[in-house]
Structures are given as C-alpha cells and as structure tokens.
C-alpha cells in the first residue's frame, strides 16, 4: 500500500481508541482518527466535542469543534458549563486529544507562549479546554510533527500537565491518568514508569537518527523497539473517500 505520513499518523491514532471509549475529539487529524476508529474496530466509540455536542455523528469533517454537523444528529448538546463540569470534571470522558507548540520529556504541553509569559516571542492561542482535558481524562493522545523545536526537554510554559516532573509529581497534584501516546511523523512514543517519553515504534522508513535529531533531549528507545503497523486498505479508503476527500487534514499523494 502507498500512504502518506499524515495518513499513517491518523491511522496510528485511530488504533489507540477502544470500542467503549468516550473521547473528547479535536479538529483535524484527531477527528479523522476518531471517525476511522468508529467506522472500523470501535463502532460504539462515543465522540464528544468541546462545544458540548455528545454522541456526534458528523456527516462530513467538521470545520471547527462547533460545526453544525456536530450538532445536527447529536444525542445531546450541553451548555459549556455542563460539558466541562459534568462530563470532563466528573470523569465521563476517558480519552482526549491534545496538541501544542511544545511537548516535553514528561508529556507536558505548551500552547501558551514561546519565551517569557509577560513579553513573549510568540503568543500562542492558549489553553482553551486543553489544561483540564489533560487533567481529567485517563489517556491523552498527541498527534504532532516531530521536530527539535516542538520537542524541548522542558516546555517554556506548562499549559496542560503531562506527568509534570514525573509520574509521582502528577499523582501528588491529585491527578489520575496522563499522557498515553505521542504520534509523530516519525514514531509512536509512550511513557515509561518514571513518566518519561520513549520511542515505542518507529514508522516504516524512519530511523533512530532522525528521531534523535528532531528531539530536544536524549530520548530512549524501547528495548523491543517495533515498527508502527501500516494503514490497511479499508482505513485508507475511509480517509480518502469518506472522511477527508478534499485533503484538508491529510496529504493523500499517491
């Protein structure tokens, strides 16, 4: 099969989702991943969006987390307070997708500022729902390109907590769960017993050297380092024909 890095990332993310998960979906690749999962191995996957739509069944890729396709045909729509209060805070959602300009060794995410908070080099969008998603779901998933700039040893600003300064640090704050996987264009990374990120599988054609060069600290590799499984025909067909025919979120170059 021919496939692009984007397609591999979407499919790898989809395979992280289980049938009985309730997932807080983000826009772009995370939305595609959820829809691939729901149409393949996880038909009961419950998709909830930050905009309060519960059990959405979008007829086309949503343009934003508040797209009307997420509202028409949803099972329920909650006002914002209820969504955060009753769903996220009360533990009704167990998986969340997060993104950010920086992700560090402990899976902490920065989507606030590059540089100093009060005099930033780059002012980023900010937390949105991310900080509390990171705090309240069981497993957070990150889908992001691999680059040294994006993977510093320590983020400039913690917008959304990963394992903070290790699994113990997170626990001491009273937070359960934590980062589960970081899916890049080179590898799938996971977190060890100390809460430190390591490479679990390398994508086909990606090398350890590439990953080392694009990571801001001496990242470890799994002893039994594997290769990320390739997308199958059905998954690619879904992306290309149904979910993202206009290549808004995937380059589908054949």
């Amino acid at each position: 099969m021919n496939y692009t890095k984007s397609e591999l990332m979407v499919v790898a993310a989809a395979r992280e989702l289980e049938n009985d998960d309730s997932v807080l979906v983000g826009i772009g690749k995370p939305n595609l991943a959820c829809n691939v999962a729901k149409r393949t191995h996880a038909p009961d996957l419950k998709m909830v969006y930050e905009s309060g739509t519960i059990g959405s069944n979008p007829s086309s890729p949503p343009l934003s987390i508040g797209d009307p396709v997420l509202a028409s045909g949803a099972v329920s729509i909650e006002p914002m307070r209820n969504g955060f209060n009753y769903y996220l805070q009360a533990g009704r959602l167990n998986v969340g997708f997060l993104g950010g300009a920086q992700i560090d060794k402990y899976g902490n995410i920065n989507s606030t500022v590059i540089g100093d908070y009060d005099d930033p080099d780059v002012r980023l969008p900010g937390s949105g729902g991310a900080c509390e998603i990171a705090g309240h779901v069981d497993r957070t998933l990150m889908v992001t390109p691999h680059s040294e700039r994006r993977f510093p040893e320590s983020v400039d600003f913690i917008t959304s907590p990963g394992f903070v300064d290790g699994r113990e640090g997170r626990k001491e704050l009273g937070l359960d769960g934590g980062p589960e996987a970081v899916i890049t264009d080179l590898a799938v990374c996971r977190f060890d017993e100390h809460g430190e990120m390591y490479v679990d599988t390398l994508h086909p054609n990606a090398s350890r050297e590439e990953v080392r060069a694009e990571t801001g600290w001496e990242i470890e590799f799994a002893d039994d380092l594997g290769t990320t499984p390739e997308p199958n025909e059905e998954e690619l067909r879904l992306i290309r024909e149904n979910l993202d025919p206009d290549e808004m979120y995937t380059d589908q170059g054949e």
Binding site: L63, S64, M80, Q89, G126, S127, A130, C131, I158, S160
Partner: protein, 304 residues
C-alpha cells in the same frame, strides 16, 4: 413591551468607551454584525471578554477598539492563529493589549459565578498548569470537609453582553437551539444585554416551548432583528459557516494595509448588516443553506 431597535441604536445606547463587553457564542451564533457596528461607531478602550476571541475580536482589535482581552483560546478555529490579536499582544499595534488569561473551564466558571452572584466558583481546573501564577483572579481553595482542594475563579460580570439566538419575541424572550455555549450565562452575568436574532416571533411561539428559552425579557435591554447577523459563523438550521471567509481573514489579518482595506470595504463601507449581506450576494447565502430537518414535536398539553 417591545424592545426592538436597530443595531445602530442598540450599540450607541448600550456600549460606552471603556466598557467590558462579552460577544457570546461558542463557534455558533457569533455576533459578527454587532462587532462591526461597534467598529463603525469607533468605540474605544473596550475590555473584550470571550472564551474564544475568534475573527470578530481580531477585527475589533485591528480596528483599535480594544485595550484588554480576557480569554481562554485566541485562534481562528480550524484555521490557525489570530494575526491582529498577536500583533497587539506582541508588539502593541495598533494599541497595547492587556491580557487576562484563563482556561475554557475557568473562564466559563468565572462567568457562571458572575451570573450567580457568587464571590467565586470552584473547579478542578488549572491543576499542574503555570496559568494561576499569572492571574490574580485564580486562587487555590481548600475543601472545608476533607483534605481535598480546588481552584477558584473570581466572578466576571461584563458591562455588556451581546447574544444571538434563532428567534425571540419583541420583548426579548429568546429560543436558541444547537450549540448553546456560554450564551445564557453571558446574558445573565452582564448589566446590559443586546439580543440579536434571525427571526422575530410571537410571544405564543416562545410560550409554546418554554424549555427552549435561553433568556427572558427581564434580562434583555435591546432586541435587534438582524438576519444573517452571525455570518461568517453560522446559525443552526439557518446557514452554515462560511469557511472561505475564515481562511481569507487569516491572510488579510497578517497585513495591516490589507486589514484597513478590508475594514473599509466590509465594515466602514456598509451602513448595516443588510448592506453587508446584499454585498455578499445571494449566491453565497444559497451555498450556506442547509436542508430542512425538523425536531420531532413534543406535546406540552393544555391543562384546565
């Protein structure tokens, strides 16, 4: 008692320089027409409050209306960043922009405290984040019942809230369906409320389905009948999001001269939303039109 007026009069009466203002709606029913009227009337030194500043605050900031943004996510949803917001926050162009920053949950909890007349709202939020160090309106509070803790946010009570809904009667009782966002609590927290709707309807329509009501007349000061007043965002059941406009703004906003030209053409150059919509053209509206899909009826029953 009718509160129906023009957007011009609603804004000139309701909004003063220096006010804190909340244009409500979470991606849905964003009050773009109101934002443009505020720009046209050259309001200054506003504190713009909103979870998601979106294009409309980028435009207000670019036009020099703002001194402060209170927010939780400043981006162009699904597209990228807000160039005018960044220009003001990073370089003070065209005005310095003070920032007061929350998470979505934190900002919404603060607004809920404001709507509820509470001195604070508790949430399990901000935990493990660096944000509380940079905002004095976020504080840790211990549980009085065990050794648990939460963060608290101080109440937000905007001077003015602008909210949109699909339909309202002339007194300002409004029905909203689809994504609700923070519309209700923004309206309840604010001193002055400007309500703008796609359709005016009878009081009987409102009373036929009281569970659909998002705000009642007592909380509404001005009612504006402004069809397509949320373009390029959307109104559930009326029109979809005009994504071209979102993508286009991302390009325009990065260039100060293009921003000026755009404001001249689409804001200063039209008198009101009607002219804006006429300029947009019927073809574009048609492209945004959904098919009909009605909710299954409910029977409230008439009791004697």
């Amino acid at each position: 008692m009718s509160k129906v007026t023009s957007m011009h009069d609603a804004i000139s009466d309701g909004v003063s320089d220096g006010d804190s203002i909340y244009l409500a709606g979470f991606t849905h029913l964003i009050p773009f027409a109101t934002g443009h009227e505020i720009i046209r009337q050259e309001k200054r030194d506003l504190e713009l409050i909103r979870a998601t500043p979106d294009l409309i605050y980028d435009q207000l900031i670019a036009a020099g209306c703002a001194r402060k943004a209170t927010f939780s996510w400043a981006g162009n949803p699904g597209v990228g960043s807000l160039a005018a917001f960044r220009r003001a926050a990073e370089d003070g162009i065209p005005t310095d922009l003070e920032l007061e920053e929350y998470t979505h949950f934190g900002l919404i909890a603060a607004l809920d405290a404001g709507a509820s007349n509470l001195p604070f709202a508790p949430l399990r939020g901000f935990i493990g984040s660096d944000l509380p160090e940079h905002n004095d309106n976020i504080a840790r509070v211990e549980s009085p019942f065990d050794d648990d803790y939460v963060y608290a946010v101080a109440p937000i009570q905007p001077d003015v809230a602008v909210i949109r809904a699909q339909r309202a009667d002339e007194a300002g009782n409004a029905h909203l369906w689809g994504i609700q966002g923070e519309v209700k609590i923004a309206g309840l927290a604010a001193d002055t409320v400007v309500l703008s709707v796609e359709d005016l309807c009878s009081e009987e329509t409102i009373r036929s389905d009281p569970n659909r009501t998002v705000i009642t007349s007592d909380d509404v000061d001005h009612v504006v009948h402004d069809p397509y007043g949320s373009h390029p965002s959307y109104a559930q059941g009326y029109y979809g999001r005009d994504n071209e406009a979102y993508i286009e703004w991302a390009e325009i906003a990065s260039d100060v001269d293009r921003v000026e030209a755009w404001l001249d053409e689409w804001v200063y150059g039209v008198e009101n939303r009607r002219e804006y919509i006429e300029k947009l053209g019927a073809g574009r509206l048609l492209d945004l039109q959904p098919e009909h899909s009605y909710a299954t009826p409910i029977d409230m029953g008439a009791y004697r």
